[in-house]
């Protein structure tokens, strides 16, 4: 992360030097070398194990293991039928659980939206010929590449801006902040910014709302801020409360067995004097104590729950999560979209004393209505709000004369309209 701060605090020329790049981009050959060194610009994602292994791994949990080992005991003590029943139960319940989870993870996958995977990159051609802008797969980007950004683009890697015009970026996927963030190319002097707040860095996984920019790639793939988050969540999940509960229950059964089985063995041995038979009988008791139907019943219950929940707009990806759902006593949630509507609306229009004033809304409406640039979220909010208040539809009587568009030096925007010659900012 310090790397990102470092690039943020450098002048553009120094950034390019540090990355051994130039305004004209990288020579094709150098890009190839870097691709070999840094790897593809892709973020680690959950690797799918082969189906067969996924199925096998369903057996590697405490309950099936306990039951299967008891079936071995039954088998070696001549209880073939008991052994058969246990193995059958384990197999049935595990298959059922596997089928259920496989189906729901497939449906989750089909929900995935496809995103554009091309980036517009500047690469040097042969010596002497001018640099060319080419459209290429995002995965081919390397540190040092110069990329062009325009409205609607996904940001393909972590970038340091070289120049930017009216660039607004939606970083909500990184920060949860729904308002677009403004970015500019200037050197960053402050050191107190948290990473996503850095004003001259754009992050992989976010996207451009409006404006255009040229930027140099400072990190790709797993080295990006996004990649560092992604890689921290790929891997084995911790045991959840339900899994721990099942494990504790199995230990309870094992403890009971550890008391019962030797007791049965000793009592039978002493009373009847036939120690071999006592041993067989004791192992039969162990098998009898085993909750052989448990995995089956748990799975039936969970699958039934998953079905009931899918009717209530809840898709269960992992069956064991259902119980955790019921056991949950704290629900943590993000704010945007859960508590809020995830859109910007105009809520107040007040005069300088904080009292509601329709004239202010009228001016704001004229400005948003007549400005000819890209209408941002705020403009839309103004227009929508004003449209609810129909009485402001007197704009027909205005005629647009001129406008002074927004820019980042002034950070203002004006339109000039004709009626009684109002002019508003």
């Amino acid at each position: 992360m310090n790397q990102i701060h470092k690039y943020s605090n450098l002048e553009i020329a120094d950034v390019l030097q540090a990355l051994h790049s130039s305004q004209d981009g990288l020579p094709a050959l150098e890009a190839k070398k870097r691709l070999a060194k840094f790897g593809l610009n892709v973020v680690a994602s959950e690797k799918q194990k082969p189906l067969f292994l996924q199925f096998l791994s369903c057996f590697i949990s405490p309950l099936p293991l306990l039951l299967l080992s008891l079936s071995l005991v039954a088998f070696f003590t001549g209880e073939f039928r008991g052994a058969e029943v246990i193995v059958l139960m384990v197999f049935l319940s595990t298959s059922l659980a596997f089928a259920q989870e496989y189906r729901s993870s497939k449906s989750a996958k089909s929900l995935r939206a496809m995103v554009s995977t091309k980036a517009s990159v500047l690469r040097m051609g042969a010596p002497g010929s001018p640099a060319l802008t080419i459209e290429m797969e995002m995965s081919q980007l390397v540190p040092g590449d110069i990329v062009h950004l325009s409205a609607g683009d996904m940001i393909p890697a972590d970038l340091r801006l070289l120049s930017a015009k009216d660039l607004f970026v939606n970083q909500s996927s990184l920060t949860g902040e729904s308002m677009p963030v403004e970015k500019h190319a200037g050197k960053n002097l402050a050191t107190t910014f948290s990473v996503p707040e850095l004003p001259n860095i754009c992050f992989m996984g976010t996207h451009v709302i409006s404006g255009a920019a040229v930027a140099v790639v400072i990190a790709t793939g797993g080295d990006t801020f996004f990649g560092s988050i992604a890689s921290s969540i790929v891997g084995v999940r911790e045991l959840t409360s339900f899994d721990q509960g099942i494990q504790k229950f199995i230990w309870l059964i094992i403890r009971i067995m550890l008391v019962m089985v030797p007791a049965v063995f000793l009592i039978n041995g002493f009373v009847k004097g036939n120690w071999m038979e006592a041993l067989l009988f004791a192992s039969a008791v162990a098998v009898g104590l085993a909750p052989e139907m448990l995995p089956m019943l748990v799975t039936i219950n969970l699958a039934k729950g998953a079905m009931a929940m899918s009717r209530k707009k809840v898709i269960v990806k992992r069956l064991n999560a259902i119980q955790n759902f019921g056991a949950m006593d704290i629900l943590c949630t993000d704010k945007t979209g859960t508590l809020t509507q995830d859109k910007v609306i105009l809520e107040r229009h007040v005069d300088i004393y904080g009292k509601d004033d329709d004239r202010v809304l009228e001016y704001a409406y004229l400005n948003s209505h007549y400005q000819s640039g890209l209408k941002n979220l705020l403009d839309i909010a103004v227009l929508e709000h004003a449209e609810v208040h129909k009485r402001l539809h007197e704009t027909d009587s205005y005629l647009k004369v001129d406008e002074i568009p927004f820019d980042f030096q002034r950070r203002r925007m004006s339109v000039i309209v004709e009626k009684t010659k109002h002019r508003i900012c």
Partner: protein, 428 residues
């Protein structure tokens, strides 16, 4: 804001435009600060009238404006959020907000939806705390603002370390680690891939009310699983306890192997319908966790009670029906088969609820039908064509009278024991 003030020299009052004075600037700052504290994003609006002959305007014309007022923007709270949070609380689920957004906006929104805003923790404060300090403070806080993705996961781990089962709902890349850390990761189908990949549960609608429905469904499922675990573990334990005594003192097996297998088959079948059973409202009203100690008490109390009645049956057969020799083993075994199957199957109705069965809590129809059918089959088997294959003999009619007495007393005693366990140790 400042950008517009800098080009204003007058302010709009109802009486007309006045020259901007230091007094006004104070007023301006106060109003704008108030709006900002309410979580608004504020933009100033100013105007001036110009002569009609000028046709082209430049930035330098933006001068000597009259400050008219402000427009304030907000991402407004959902109408459904406040009632949803209240009803989650009723069901014993506390809602906490973990956000990357700043505390001012978060405070305002949380206030609007009825969450306590007294305790706010910031990412920078959390960064300075040890895991232990965080665990001690996180329980009391409702809002966590300006969190980095890793800090969200830390907060969840901190709450888990205080024995909470923690759910997390999020849809951003920044929510990935938290989704993974939570006991239940909840995402939405419009979320980014990485969030959906890390989630256990995906909502088709980002709405807390949908979550409440899911929670109730989850408790029903868990309730029925626990019912099954308690019942089957108790009866397994009781049976083994009975077999232990019988094997030591009887000159023959208390039940033939084929009968044991058949008994299990019928009992297991009756248990599959537990999944359809209704769950008492009281049970659904609170989060339900594994209470292994309670399960263990159940097994160690209810199991031996069932054994008492097994031994009563053994005594009955031994002393009254004179089954003391291997020749009379068939009758003995048939009697225990019937008693064992009927008692196990019927006890389901006592153990499935914390209340008085049938009077206060009714089972689901499939469960009722299955248990009745299994009992009828069990009682009929000794008289059926299968009897020789199962090594069964017909039971004398007087046995049924004894059996009814045994079953009624058994069910009554178990109901009392269950009521005692619940009074003493609580419902699980």
């Amino acid at each position: 804001m400042e950008e517009i003030f800098s080009v204003c020299d007058r302010v709009q009052k109802s009486s007309g435009a006045l020259t901007l004075k230091p007094l006004h600037i104070e007023e301006v700052n106060r109003v704008v600060n108030d709006l900002n504290e309410d979580g608004f994003r504020v933009i100033a609006v100013a105007y001036k009238e110009v002569s009609s002959d000028q046709l082209v305007y430049e930035p330098k014309d933006e001068s000597n404006l009259i400050l008219s007022g402000y427009i304030a923007f907000l991402d407004p709270p959902k109408e459904s959020a406040a009632p949803a949070i209240a009803s989650l609380l009723q069901y014993g689920v506390e809602v906490k907000i973990l956000t990357g957004d700043n505390e001012v906006v978060s405070r305002k929104i949380c206030h609007d939806v009825g969450l306590s805003v007294d305790r706010i923790m910031l990412g920078s404060q959390i960064e300075a705390m040890t895991d232990l300090e965080l665990a001690n403070k996180a329980e009391a806080a409702t809002i966590f603002a300006k969190l980095s993705p890793q800090q969200k996961a830390r907060v969840i781990h901190a709450l888990q370390s205080k024995n909470h089962v923690v759910g997390f709902m999020g849809d951003g890349i920044n929510d990935g680690p938290a989704l993974k850390a939570a006991d239940v990761g909840i995402s939405v189908d419009t979320a980014v891939d990485i969030a959906k990949e890390s989630a256990d549960i995906i909502l088709l609608e980002k709405n807390l009310l949908v979550i409440k429905e899911g929670i109730i469904e989850g408790r029903k499922v868990f309730g029925n699983i626990i019912k099954y675990i308690r019942m089957s573990a108790s009866s397994n334990f009781g049976n083994m306890f009975s077999v232990l005594g019988a094997s030591a003192f009887l000159p023959f097996l208390p039940m033939a192997p084929v009968q044991i297998l058949f008994n299990n088959l019928l009992y297991d079948f009756s248990q599959t319908s537990v999944a359809t059973d209704t769950v008492d409202e009281e049970y659904l009203s609170q989060p339900r966790k594994w209470e292994i100690a309670n399960i263990s008490r159940y097994i160690l109390t209810i199991g031996p009670i069932s054994s008492i009645f097994d031994y009563l049956t053994f005594g009955l057969m031994w002393f009254i029906f004179d089954c003391t020799t291997p020749e009379r083993a068939g009758l003995f075994q048939t009697a225990w088969f019937v008693e064992s199957l009927l008692s196990q199957t019927l006890i389901v109705h006592v153990l499935r609820t914390g209340k008085i069965p049938f009077l206060q809590s009714k089972p689901s129809l499939p469960l009722l039908i299955t248990t009745v059918v299994i009992c009828i089959i069990g009682a009929y088997l000794p008289y059926s064509a299968l009897a020789p294959a199962l090594q069964m003999t017909a039971l004398p009619s007087i046995f049924w009278l004894y059996l009814v007495i045994i079953l009624v007393v058994y069910l009554g005693l178990t109901q009392m024991a269950k009521a005692y366990l619940i009074r003493r140790f609580g419902l699980d």
